[in-house]
Symmetry: C2
């Protein structure tokens, strides 16, 4: 697929969010209205506002004018109607654990904190599905499911809310087997820009009944509506789990192991790659003694016999590519020990520098291009002199270079941004995407045209049709 | 999820398509323009027009004014631009094998026959994906793939074009394991209403980069754009296949067997249910001697050991529910013999009456409600005295009642329509859908509001934004 658009240079401007000192006059009227409706569940306290204007990224904070704490879809609709009446922007907030500034209130407005929508509405073990309100977190759902023999597999690392995960089309380590939020949301309830409530999808496993509004809202990051409830697909807890870890002489050997594993149809649940910089960081952070070499971490789900067989098959493939120190285990404490470096990876990377912050990248490419993309990127990193460990969900072709920056060093930030931009262009030239799972927020708006070309105009037409006043999380996904 | 909308009575009118005798004056100018562009690849011959205004359903034929035979995305764009300039409707045509009148030119216009877009653009065995033009049929793709060890699994029965299958969100017998077109289209190229060409998605396995335009166009039935190319996910041909067949004392016992099979995590590739009316029809049509009882047909994919184990596990489950005459086989000719009744089902049903036509229904419900839905429906059929064999993709909760009607008997047609409507309302009340896989066409437009409520207004807003002149397959999915 030739994409002339990819060659186009990207605009250099970086969004400069405003951080207002208090409630701006234009928001005062809506706050008064909301106080009448929500009582003390609307806050303009500086600390509450600041906390709701930031996520876990390096992006600049932009606090909203006020934060509303509704407890039902109807209350969310009331907040949205009030904001629409006063022409005030709306920014939904789940747990604030995203990475692209999606909760920053770039133009002020009212943040809707959805943590009060916390009911698990129903679980149907027979149908392998459940319905939860948007504020329920994935860990809480899985605790609730424990006795049913079922679990919800999508695992982005953070204990994010399921509404937020739907809004950002989250995935994580075991998407290679269980899919992302795209595959695991069967339907949802959302409040539209004018306060109407729409329910999409049904509980049927498949449907050909009209436009796929569920998939349109999943990944729309609050720019088309506020998701208040999701119906999710559940999966049987595997009878057994095994884990394995293996070091390689180089990245290419590790990636070739991944490709052959996938092509052999081994139904691996997770395959993670950490490069030698990341492994050294993990050793230092957690006082471990892994070989400081590119390393693959595997997890297998299935029957007791199947998980042993899968681990052995992968061990054979890895050995064929020069893998060494292959270890595998099935007992939980042994599995945890094998995977410890992976669990610590992000914080170990950041800890490489005192006061460092992580500029996290998120490209995803076809797996046949993964080794090239990683090799070229590492050569690029070496030239810049920047510190950038790498961890990847390589079964999907998705990897994160975490550029550890001093947020106060403008020159270094600029070099890191330039490295990030070259990485994105490299991935797009390989028919990949600028974001495999973190979403666009306002951090990746500038890459969207390079990736989608004319598609951005289509997205803009849809945005205009569903949010003509431009009040729903403005400046995210698309330019305001 | 309470859905008050479901109680709303549906409008009783049935669309009465017009069948113009020749090219209407308003279409003459566009035909002249297209003749200049396409030469003899634009036809106004009566036989060509009539053939393109019908599919395989009982719905009334509505011929277009002319049929264009482009050979590239650019030529499709040229046809669309000419139609837009002359304000003439556009109806895409794949193989004409759909079942809801999707190709009927309700307001005349130009039919775009996509069979000339027949190139297999590329196959990447490493990435388990391929790109094909819209007119390539699924069987042709699978023949092309034979030596790669890969196959494309979505199988709606007919040898449909892959563009048409994407446009209608097709699925079929093995969706329970491999998913539908929703899960198996990674990206696509489409011509929009104003002739712009948009490419959606990338070849990355996952992406969080903006609105999911791929999933929006999949299932949009030509009402938002003409799909000209699709990038598809491929799967490894299983090392071994086994098939099984088993008769049951009643529908409920068969459905309980299905539920326990799915819950046990047995990765069944196909599970089909035929009721006793359908089995009797198959015996008569193909001179077979199956027990005339509700019967399940299974297919298992995996390693040689796994497919034996799966068949045995299912045999045990079936026996627990009173299943009898359980047979299974792995050799291809034996498997074909076991499955013959299933392969013949549709034509065997129609053949129950001389000159009968099939009014095919297509509801899909959560599997926990499937036995209730089927039981209630069969009681309803018995009361009407209509002839209506049943076949279901029961692993997904999807089943087809084929009401065998005399198309010239208006009273019988009305009773069949009423039965169909009661079936749809029953499925919606069980949180199911009016169409699991056939799409809306113009045959199910009247059910869409009952299913989606406010969602239809959202669909209409999107349609208006992307096709403001209402020229893209008007009257399909949404009212014109």
């Amino acid at each position: 697929m030739p994409r002339g658009e990819k060659e186009r240079p990207m605009p250099a401007e970086v969004v400069q969010p405003t951080l207002s000192a208090g409630v701006r006059p234009e928001a005062e009227a809506v706050v008064a209205d909301l106080r009448a409706a929500l009582g003390d569940r609307i806050s303009t306290a500086a600390a509450v506002r600041a906390q709701h204007g930031r996520d876990e990224s390096y992006h600049a904070v932009a606090a909203p004018d006020a934060v509303a704490f509704p407890r039902s879809t109807e209350e969310v609709a009331a907040v949205v109607r009030a904001c629409a009446a006063h022409r005030v922007p709306i920014v939904p907030f789940g747990t604030g654990t995203a990475l692209e500034g999606g909760v920053a209130a770039l133009g002020g407005g009212v943040c809707i904190d959805l943590s009060g929508l916390d009911r698990i509405v129903r679980v149907s073990a027979e149908d392998l599905d459940c319905t939860v309100e948007a504020g329920v977190t994935r860990k809480r759902l899985n605790e609730h499911l424990r006795d049913t023999g079922l679990f919800f597999p999508v695992d982005p690392g953070a204990d994010a809310s399921l509404g937020g995960m739907a809004a950002t089309r989250a995935s994580g380590t075991n998407a290679v087997r269980y899919g992302t939020m795209r595959e695991n949301v069967l339907g949802l309830t959302a409040v539209l820009a004018d306060g109407r409530v729409v329910r999409t999808g049904t509980r049927a496993r498949k449907s050909a009944a009209g436009y796929d509004l569920t998939r349109l809202l999943v990944g729309s990051e609050g720019t088309l509506g506020v998701i208040t409830e999701v119906t999710l697909r559940l999966h049987g807890i595997p009878e057994a789990v095994s884990a394995a870890v293996c070091a390689f002489p180089g990245i290419r050997a590790a990636v070739d192991t991944v490709i052959l594993t996938i092509q052999s149809g081994i139904p691996v649940a997770r395959i993670e790659l950490l490069d030698e910089v990341q492994m050294a960081a993990c050793n230092r952070f957690s006082k471990l003694d892994y070989p400081e070499a590119p390393t693959l971490f595997f997890e297998f789900h299935g029957s007791a016999a199947a998980v042993v067989e899968q681990a052995e098959q992968v061990g054979t493939i890895a050995a064929g590519y020069g893998g060494t120190a292959f270890q595998w285990a099935t007992r939980p404490e042994e599995r945890s020990r094998l995977w410890q470096a992976r669990h610590d990876a992000y914080y170990a990377g950041i800890a490489l520098r005192p006061d460092g912050r992580g500029m996290t990248t998120d490209v995803c490419v076809p797996i046949s291009r993964l080794a090239d993309c990683i090799d070229d990127t590492r050569a690029d990193v070496a030239e810049t002199g920047l510190l950038a460990p790498m961890v990847g969900h390589v079964g999907d072709g998705n990897f994160h270079l975490v550029i550890v920056v001093d947020p106060n060093d403008a020159d270094e930030l600029a070099r890191a941004e330039a490295l990030h931009e070259r990485l994105v262009l490299r991935a797009l030239a390989m028919d990949g995407t600028c974001t495999g799972e973190h979403g666009v927020g306002y951090g990746k708006v500038r890459f969207l045209e390079a990736e989608h070309g004319e598609g951005v105009a289509v997205m803009r037409a849809i945005k205009q049709a569903l949010d003509p006043l431009g009040l729903m999380n403005p400046g995210k996904v698309l330019r305001a």
